[in-house]
């Protein structure tokens, strides 16, 4: 059992109420920050902690905060990105549902650090039931004087609102999120200007993930240096991992960064091994957009070292033999899963979710879906594999926002590591399209 920074009290009955939350030490960071620290001191603690953005990019949160422009007489905003949409990711939804005050406390302390007097939680519209939970908790916080005017007699004012999206993956990208929050289509903005200079309502804005913001209270209470002691190297602290796919115990796990991948998959404390007594085939360790790795490369790096659950270890080997931590969405594939089918599924997702602004992404995602569909359905051409690689290359890096990269990487990685499976589909369409047929490394179809 590692240290639980976010989830220590998450299973306490009634923790979603202000009363029980406060009994377990809730809102201490608000009192400490507002009464004994300057906003700059809070920013410094977060910098010292080494906390990195938990939404996927992994950018140091304290550094992001320090970029915020502070022109006189212009409001600043903190916006929480609760648009959790990356396939495989459900940690924020789980956390907000169980412990809404944890996020609200983080919003207050972080807003104080940034000098924001109005903050928003932008939540994906499908999670309307979580919005109701958050709004109930926010009402409790207002009633207790933790939100509104002159919080705890400190002279600091903060209004906090929740805003629902409408069902669009792209709104997890921070500038698309801001457009959506302003009541527009979720088309990402060109950068610069960055949100830190011109964000929500053209004012300086910080956008942070739910988990990032919810980690701030512990850092304020215990100090950034204490947080930095947890984890390994530049992967400090703990991380919520959403474990899904063909495992015995799917769910959300808070781990100290540095747990070996093998332990995470097979230990009963976490995933509990592969379901139905099957073998591990592959893992997508950070959400659908990061490269898939075959079993041997997810358990060990190319150099033969144990792969660890850290930003550095998961990306060891670059995209040739490594992947990414991403949002911490750990998707496990057993031996009965078809990589071609899964890659087609992901491509359909990105095609569906492309906002259509940039031609390489709008057209390229459609091409990839179409070509993968025909391979999966027994109509592939010999040159289709190279065509896919070429389309993926032409999307990557050629779009306003990272959705293009997110669409290209899984296709490129699936072909990199499972090329023979694609070739088998093309050469043996009849066998490959038989119900339950799966390629097992040899040219034999196995009926599941």
């Amino acid at each position: 059992m590692g240290l639980k920074i976010l989830t220590e009290h998450i299973n306490v009955p009634g923790i979603e109420t202000l009363e029980v939350y406060r009994k377990h030490g809730g809102y201490k960071s608000v009192e400490k920050a507002l009464k004994t620290m300057s906003p700059e001191e809070v920013v410094e603690e977060v910098k010292t902690s080494g906390l990195r953005g938990r939404g996927g990019a992994g950018f140091p949160a304290g550094m992001k905060w320090s970029f915020l422009a502070k022109p006189e007489g212009v409001p600043r905003y903190l916006v929480c990105n609760a648009d959790e949409s990356e396939p495989g990711t459900f940690k924020d939804r789980w956390y907000m549902e169980k412990n809404p005050h944890g996020l609200i406390e983080g919003m207050i302390t972080s807003s104080y650090a940034l000098g924001a007097n109005t903050s928003y939680i932008y939540i994906r519209g499908e999670l309307m039931f979580i919005l109701r939970i958050l709004e109930k908790a926010i009402a409790e916080a207002y009633a207790a004087g933790l939100l509104g005017k002159n919080i705890m007699g400190s002279g600091y004012d903060l209004d906090l609102h929740v805003a629902p999206g409408g069902g669009a993956y792209i709104c997890g990208e921070e500038t698309a999120l801001l457009e959506s929050l302003e009541g527009k289509r979720g088309n990402p903005r060109n950068k610069p200007p960055f949100p830190a200079v011109k964000g929500l309502f053209q004012s300086p804005t910080v956008v942070n993930n739910v988990e990032t913001i919810s980690s701030v209270p512990w850092i304020v209470n215990n100090g950034g240096a204490e947080y930095a002691k947890v984890g390994i190297g530049r992967s400090t602290g703990t991380k919520l991992i959403s474990a899904s796919g063909n495992i015995n115990n799917p769910g959300v796990y808070e781990i100290e960064l540095g747990v070996p991948v093998e332990e995470f998959i097979y230990s009963d404390e976490y995933c509990g091994g592969i379901w139905k007594g099957r073998q591990l085939k592959a893992v997508v360790p950070g959400g659908s957009s990061v490269p898939i790795l075959p079993a041997n490369l997810i358990l060990k790096t190319a150099a033969g070292e144990d792969r660890l659950m850290t930003y550095e270890s998961l990306s060891d080997g670059g995209f040739v033999t490594g992947s990414m931590m991403g949002s911490g969405a750990f998707i496990v594939f057993d031996e009965a899963q078809c990589i071609v089918r899964n890659t087609w599924n992901y491509s359909r997702f990105y095609h569906h979710e492309s906002c259509g602004q940039c031609s390489p992404c709008r057209e390229g995602t459609g091409w990839m879906e179409k070509v993968l569909h025909r391979i999966e359905h027994g109509h592939g051409h010999q040159q289709d594999i190279d065509l896919l690689v070429s389309v993926a290359k032409q999307i990557e890096g050629n779009t306003i926002c990272p959705l293009g990269d997110a669409a290209a990487w899984p296709v490129a990685a699936a072909i990199r590591h499972f090329r023979d499976e694609f070739e088998w589909h093309i050469k043996h369409p009849k066998e490959a399209t038989a119900p339950g047929a799966v390629y097992r490394g040899q040219l034999d179809a196995v009926t599941a």
């Binding site: 459900f90 309307m128 409408g166 069902g167 669009a168 796919g245 063909n246 799917p250 899964n342």
Partner: protein, 179 residues
């Protein structure tokens, strides 16, 4: 078109909820409330937003109708055509498929005798496959209005679910409960 617009009338509870959302934004930034208002409109008017409803929303926010249309057509949660009583929004994305989402969709199609995007003959169910709903650990799953129904991983569970839904009325949204 003015006569048609006049026919669309939000309830007092809905108008109060709309005003609450508008109050969350700075002066002159009231358009920000557009997405929340479209959700309220969809709950008010039978699970979809017609052009007349969108025009009414534009009137309330004092913006051009096109500003509402372009948003309503961008976001997948807004239904632009009439739907059945219960819209079954089934997750079809990778992680749910690893646990049987394809089977769930096929079973629903067979039992309801409809294809994706269609409504059953009795008007009870519309089948609407959607992308990842952040419920990957409890898939296969689906959403109806504000609620999630999870781990629907066998034909028996599908039967139980459909039987329950046939008896079920819509939950009243929280904002409409006081009135």
């Amino acid at each position: 078109m003015a006569e048609t617009i006049n026919e669309v009338k939000f309830s007092d509870a809905a108008m109060a909820e709309i005003q609450r959302y508008i109050s969350h934004y700075p002066e002159g930034r009231h358009k920000s409330a557009l997405l929340p208002i479209l959700h309220i409109a969809q709950a008010e008017f039978g699970g979809w937003v017609s052009p007349e409803v969108m025009d009414k929303v534009a009137e309330i926010l004092d913006i051009q109708p096109i500003e509402v249309y372009e948003v309503a057509t961008f976001y997948t949660m807004f239904n632009l055509k009439p739907v059945g009583k219960h819209v079954l929004e089934v997750c079809r994305t990778g992680p749910c498929c690893l646990r049987g989402a394809d089977e769930l969709i096929n079973t629903l199609k067979r039992k309801l005798n409809i294809e994706e995007g269609e409504t059953s003959a009795d008007g009870m169910f519309t089948l609407k496959p959607v992308e990842c709903l952040a419920s990957c650990g409890t898939g296969p799953m689906l959403q109806v209005r504000e609620l999630f129904y999870e781990n629907i991983d066998s034909e028996e569970r599908v039967d139980e679910f459909l039987a329950m839904m046939r008896q079920k009325e819509h939950e009243t949204p929280v904002w409409a409960q006081q009135s």
